[in-house]
C-alpha cells in the first residue's frame, strides 16, 4: 500500500508543484523582511552649536514623533528632480528639494531660494540674487556655485531631462559672486523665471551626487534645502521624509511625513475614512458628494491649469468646416456634465486656456444650444454625421464617463460618434500618428502646462507643433495665430505679450479647433482634524504647513 501511494505521488504533476511550493516557502522564509528599506543612510546635518545658557536641570522626555500621512496613487519613477515627469512625484520631491522661485496659490511667482531677480531689456541676461545662509541637508552651503552646478546638470545632454524645453534657450551660467548667478540667453525667453519654479530646476547638493547611492546621472536619494530630509523609500509601498532641523524658513509642524503608494482610488478613500491617513488626492469622483457631506473630512476642489477638451481633426474633409466644429461645441451641455458626471470637479472653459495662466483673457462661451448646432450642421451640408471618437480610461477625472455623455449629446444633434477606449500608450500612439496615417476624428485629451504661462498652452494651436513634430493633435492651422504665437514667444514686454495671446485666443475660440470642455479641478480630501492644507494651481497639494486643529 505504501509503495503504491509513493509511486502515485511521485508520478503526479502535483508533485512538481509541491516541490515548487516547498522551495518557494524556504526562499521566502529566508528572505529578509519585505519591508527592508533600500540602503540609505540619511546624511547628518551639521551639529548645532551648543547653547551657552545654563543647561536644563531635567533632560526633556523625547516627544513622540508626529507623523503626517498622505496617500498618493503613483509609485515615483524617479526621485531625481531633473528627470521629473508627473506633478504628483514633483509634489513629493518638493518636500525635500526646492527651486529658485515658487508658485503661490494664486499662481504668482514668489521668491524661494532666490530673493530677487532681474531680466535685461533685451531679454538676453537673467540675474538671480540668491538667499544667504541656506544649507543643504548634508550641511554644505547653498550658493552660486551649487546653483550653477544644478543648472548645468539640467542642461547636460547626457542626462534624461524630459521637461528640459523651457531651459534650452540658456546659453551659459555664470557665478558672478557667492550669491549671484547670471544666465546668458541664446534668445529671449519671457517665461523663463516662471519656469524656474519647476522641480526640474530643483537645487540638490553637488556634494551628494556621488554619495548615498546616487550617481551624477541618476539621483535616488535627493539631498536638497527643503523643510524635510529624505529618509527612506520602499518601492511600491511608501516614502518617508523627516523634519530638517536647520531649515532656513518657517519650520513645519509634523516631524515625519509619510507618502503611501495606493494605486486604487477607492482604497485611498477607505484609508482616509478609516483614519489611517490624513490626506489623499483624487478620490473616486462619484464619492465627492458623499465626502462633501461627511463631517470627518474636508473636500478641497483645487483649481488647476488642466484644460480638458475634445481635439477635432482639423484636416479631416468634413471637420475642416468651421461651422461643423462650432456646431459640435454648441451640441454639448458642459454645465450638466460637470455637475452630473464630474460631481463639480470642473469649471467651464471660457478661453482656450485655464484662467491661472499668464496671458489668459476671457474670450467667450459656447452655451448649450442644440438647435443652433443642428442649424450649423444643416448649413454646412452635414445634417447627419458619423465620426470616430476615442477617449482614454482613468487618465483624467471621469474621462470615459464624460466622453460617453458627450457622445449622447452629439447623437441628439445627428452626429453618430460612439466612444471607444484603449490603454494609454496605444491611445497616445493613435493620436500622435503622422497626418497621413492618422485616423482619429475626435479624441478626448487633457493638457496641463508645467508652468503657468500661455506659451506652453498655445503650442496646442501652433501648426508647426503638429505630429510628428509635437503634440498639436488637432492639426489646426491658422497662419495669423501662428504668427501671433511666435511673436509672443520672444516678446519681452509682458503687457504686449498678454495682448498677443489674447488676440490669438479670440481667433482660436472662434475657429473652434477643439470642443472646449472644462478646466479640471484637482480634488484633495483631508481629515477635519487637520488645518493648514492648501494647493498650488498646478495639480499639487500644499500641506507642508498642515497641523492639527
Amino acid at each position: 500500500m505504501k509503495a503504491y501511494t509513493h509511486r502515485l505521488w511521485a508520478s503526479h504533476p502535483g508533485f512538481h508543484f509541491l516541490i515548487l511550493f516547498l522551495l518557494i516557502t524556504l526562499v521566502a522564509a529566508s528572505c529578509a523582511p519585505s519591508t527592508t528599506p533600500t540602503p540609505t543612510s540619511a546624511p547628518q546635518p551639521a551639529e548645532k552649536p551648543t547653547e551657552t545658557q545654563a543647561p536644563p536641570t531635567v533632560p526633556p522626555k523625547p516627544a513622540e514623533k508626529t507623523t503626517f500621512r498622505i496617500a498618493v496613487g503613483i509609485d515615483p519613477d524617479t526621485l531625481d528632480p531633473v528627470a521629473s515627469t508627473t506633478s504628483t512625484v514633483m509634489n513629493m520631491v518638493e518636500y525635500v528639494v526646492q527651486t529658485l522661485v515658487r508658485i503661490d496659490k494664486e499662481g504668482n511667482v514668489q521668491p524661494q531660494l532666490a530673493e530677487s531677480w532681474e531680466v535685461s531689456e533685451d531679454g538676453l541676461t537673467v540675474t538671480f540674487h540668491l538667499r544667504k545662509g541656506v544649507k543643504f541637508h548634508d550641511g554644505t552651503p547653498f550658493n552660486a556655485e551649487s546653483a550653477k552646478f544644478n543648472i548645468e546638470r539640467m542642461l547636460d545632454p547626457d542626462l534624461r531631462v524630459p521637461i528640459r524645453a523651457p531651459f534650452t534657450s540658456i546659453e551659459s551660467v555664470e557665478a558672478v559672486d557667492e550669491y549671484t548667478i547670471r544666465l546668458h540667453m541664446k534668445e529671449p525667453f519671457p517665461p523663463l523665471v516662471s519656469a524656474f519654479a519647476l522641480t526640474t530646476a530643483g537645487m540638490i547638493s553637488p556634494d551628494s551626487v556621488e554619495k548615498y547611492g546616487n550617481s551624477y546621472k541618476n539621483i535616488v536619494h535627493p539631498v536638497g534645502t527643503g523643510p524635510y530630509v529624505f529618509k527612506e523609500r520602499v518601492k511600491g509601498d511608501h516614502i518617508t521624509v523627516e523634519k530638517f532641523a536647520d531649515y532656513w524658513g518657517e519650520k513645519p509642524y509634523y516631524d515625519v511625513v509619510k507618502f503611501q503608494i495606493v494605486p486604487e482610488a477607492a482604497t485611498r478613500e477607505s484609508l482616509l475614512l478609516a483614519g489611517q491617513v490624513d490626506l489623499i488626492i483624487l478620490p473616486p469622483a462619484s464619492d465627492l458628494p458623499a465626502l462633501k457631506q461627511n463631517p470627518d473630512v474636508e473636500v478641497l476642489l483645487a483649481p488647476s491649469d488642466r484644460t480638458i477638451f475634445i481635439a477635432i481633426n482639423n484636416r479631416d474633409p468634413v471637420l475642416k468646416d468651421k461651422r461643423v466644429r462650432q456646431a459640435l461645441n454648441y451640441a454639448v451641455d458642459k454645465k450638466a456634465i460637470i455637475e452630473k458626471v464630474l460631481f463639480g470637479a470642473g469649471d467651464i472653459m471660457d478661453a482656450p486656456m485655464a484662467p491661472s495662466l499668464f496671458g489668459y483673457c476671457k474670450v467667450g462661451e459656447y452655451p448649450y444650444d442644440p438647435e443652433k448646432a443642428k442649424a450649423l450642421l444643416k448649413e454646412s451640408g452635414h445634417e447627419t454625421l458619423e465620426l470616430n471618437f476615442i477617449a482614454p480610461t482613468g487618465r483624467y477625472v471621469q474621462d470615459f464617463q464624460a466622453a460617453q455623455a458627450i457622445s449622447g449629446y452629439l447623437e441628439e444633434v445627428g452626429v453618430h460618434a460612439p466612444v471607444k477606449t484603449m490603454d494609454w500608450p496605444s491611445y497616445v500612439a493613435t493620436i500622435t500618428a503622422p497626418p497621413e496615417k492618422n485616423t482619429t476624428q475626435l479624441h478626448y485629451l487633457g493638457w496641463a502646462p508645467s508652468y503657468l504661462d500661455a506659451a506652453q498652452q498655445m503650442i496646442q494651436f501652433l501648426s508647426t507643433y503638429a505630429p510628428p513634430h509635437g503634440l498639436e493633435t488637432s492639426f489646426y492651422k491658422n497662419e495669423k495665430v501662428d504668427e501671433l504665437i511666435l511673436k509672443a514667444k520672444k516678446e519681452t514686454n509682458p503687457e504686449v505679450r498678454k495682448q498677443l495671446y489674447c488676440e490669438a485666443s479670440k481667433i482660436v475660440w472662434d475657429d473652434a479647433p477643439w470642443i472646449f470642455l472644462w478646466v479640471q479641478r484637482f480634488p484633495i480630501v483631508y481629515s477635519s482634524k487637520i488645518t493648514g492644507v492648501s494647493y498650488i494651481p498646478t495639480e499639487m497639494f500644499d500641506a507642508i504647513y498642515a497641523r492639527p486643529k
Binding site: F15, T78, P162
Partner: protein
C-alpha cells in the same frame, strides 16, 4: 560518461534552449504592442528632442534585429538591463517586490488549503447534510465573487467600520490578513470542491470497505487511507492555484496597495517598460524550469529506467 550525467546534460541544454525561446518570444511580442516607450516614459510635456534623446538612451533607435542581438548578448552575460522608467537595474526592481508576492501567495495558499481541505472532507463525510449544502453554496459564491469587489468590501468592513485592520500597504504584520483572505477565498472554493469530489470517489473504493471491515477506527479510515489518496488531484489544484498567484495577483495587489510583482508587471506593460516586463517573464520562466529540472533529476536519480528510456 554515465547515463545519469548524460541525462543531466541533456536536461540542462533543454532548459537553456527553453529560456532562450521564452526570451525571444517575449522580446518580439512586446514590440508588437502599439505605443512608443520613449514618449510614454517622457510624458506628454516632453519636447520631441527630449523624446528622441530618450529613445537613443534606451537603444530604441536601432534596427530591431540589432536590438535583439544586444538584448540576447546581455542576457547571456546575466544582465537583465535597466528599467526604462526608473533607470535602475531590473533585478533591483524585481527583488524589491518579489518577496511581497511570495509572502502573499504562500499565506493565501496555506489558508486556502487548510480551510478548503477541511471543508471538503467534512462535506464529503457528511454528504447531503446541511453543512454539505452550505459548503457547496459557499464554494459557488467564492468562485464567482470578483476579487476587486470583495477586497473593497473587506476594507470597508474591517478597516473603515471596525478599525481592526490596515486598509492598505504591507508595513504592519496585520497587513497581510485582508489581501490573503481575499485571494484565498477563490482558492478555498476550488480546493473544497475538488476535495469533496475526490473524497467521495475514494470513499467508494474497495480498499476503503476493506479497511472498515478490518475494524479500523473511522478516523483512521478517513485520514490515513482515504484522504491520502484523495489528496492527489487536490494537490494539482493547489499547485496550479499557487502558480497562478505567483504570477502576481494584480487586482488584489492593486486594491490593497500591496507592493508586489503583479502590480510592477502591469505598470510596466502600461508604461511600455520593455526591460522590466522581459525581466519578470524570464525570472518566472527560469524558476519554473528550475523546479521541473530538479524534480526530473531527482526522478532520474531514483528511477534508473527513466535515464535509459
Amino acid at each position: 560518461m554515465s547515463g545519469f550525467t548524460r541525462y543531466l546534460i541533456q536536461r540542462l541544454v533543454a532548459a537553456l534552449l527553453t529560456l532562450i525561446g521564452v526570451a525571444t518570444i517575449v522580446f518580439f511580442l512586446l514590440r508588437l504592442l502599439p505605443g512608443d516607450p520613449a514618449r510614454i516614459i517622457a510624458g506628454l510635456l516632453a519636447s520631441e528632442e527630449e523624446i528622441q534623446r530618450i529613445r537613443v538612451q534606451l537603444g530604441l533607435d536601432k534596427p530591431l534585429w540589432m536590438q535583439y542581438i544586444i538584448f540576447m548578448g546581455r542576457l547571456i552575460g546575466g544582465d537583465l538591463g535597466l528599467s526604462a522608467r526608473t533607470s535602475q537595474p531590473v533585478l533591483v526592481e524585481v527583488a524589491a517586490r518579489l518577496p511581497n508576492t511570495l509572502k502573499l501567495a504562500v499565506v493565501s495558499t496555506i489558508l486556502a488549503t487548510v480551510v478548503g481541505v477541511s471543508a471538503g472532507v467534512i462535506a464529503a463525510t457528511r454528504r447531503y447534510s446541511l453543512f454539505d449544502y452550505i459548503a457547496s453554496f459557499g464554494s459557488l459564491i467564492g468562485i464567482s465573487m470578483p476579487v476587486y469587489w470583495l477586497g473593497l468590501l473587506l476594507i470597508i468592513l474591517f478597516a473603515v467600520k471596525l478599525h481592526w485592520l490596515p486598509a492598505a500597504g504591507a508595513e504592519k504584520p496585520t497587513s497581510i490578513i485582508l489581501p490573503s483572505l481575499t485571494l484565498a477565498l477563490f482558492s478555498v472554493a476550488l480546493v473544497a470542491r475538488m476535495t469533496r469530489a475526490s473524497m467521495l470517489e475514494v470513499l467508494n473504493q474497495d480498499y476503503i470497505r476493506t479497511a472498515r471491515a478490518k475494524g479500523l477506527k473511522e478516523r483512521t479510515v478517513i485520514f490515513r487511507h482515504a484522504l491520502q489518496n484523495a489528496f492527489i488531484p487536490v494537490l494539482t489544484v493547489i499547485g496550479l492555484q499557487f502558480g497562478a498567484l505567483l504570477g502576481g495577483a494584480v487586482l488584489t495587489e492593486s486594491v490593497f496597495g500591496w507592493p508586489g510583482i503583479g502590480l510592477l508587471l502591469v505598470d510596466s506593460i502600461f508604461a511600455r517598460d520593455y526591460p522590466v516586463v522581459q525581466g519578470i517573464v524570464l525570472i518566472f520562466s527560469a524558476m519554473f524550469i528550475l523546479v521541473n529540472l530538479i524534480v526530473d533529476i531527482l526522478y532520474a536519480y531514483i528511477d534508473p529506467r527513466i535515464r535509459y528510456g
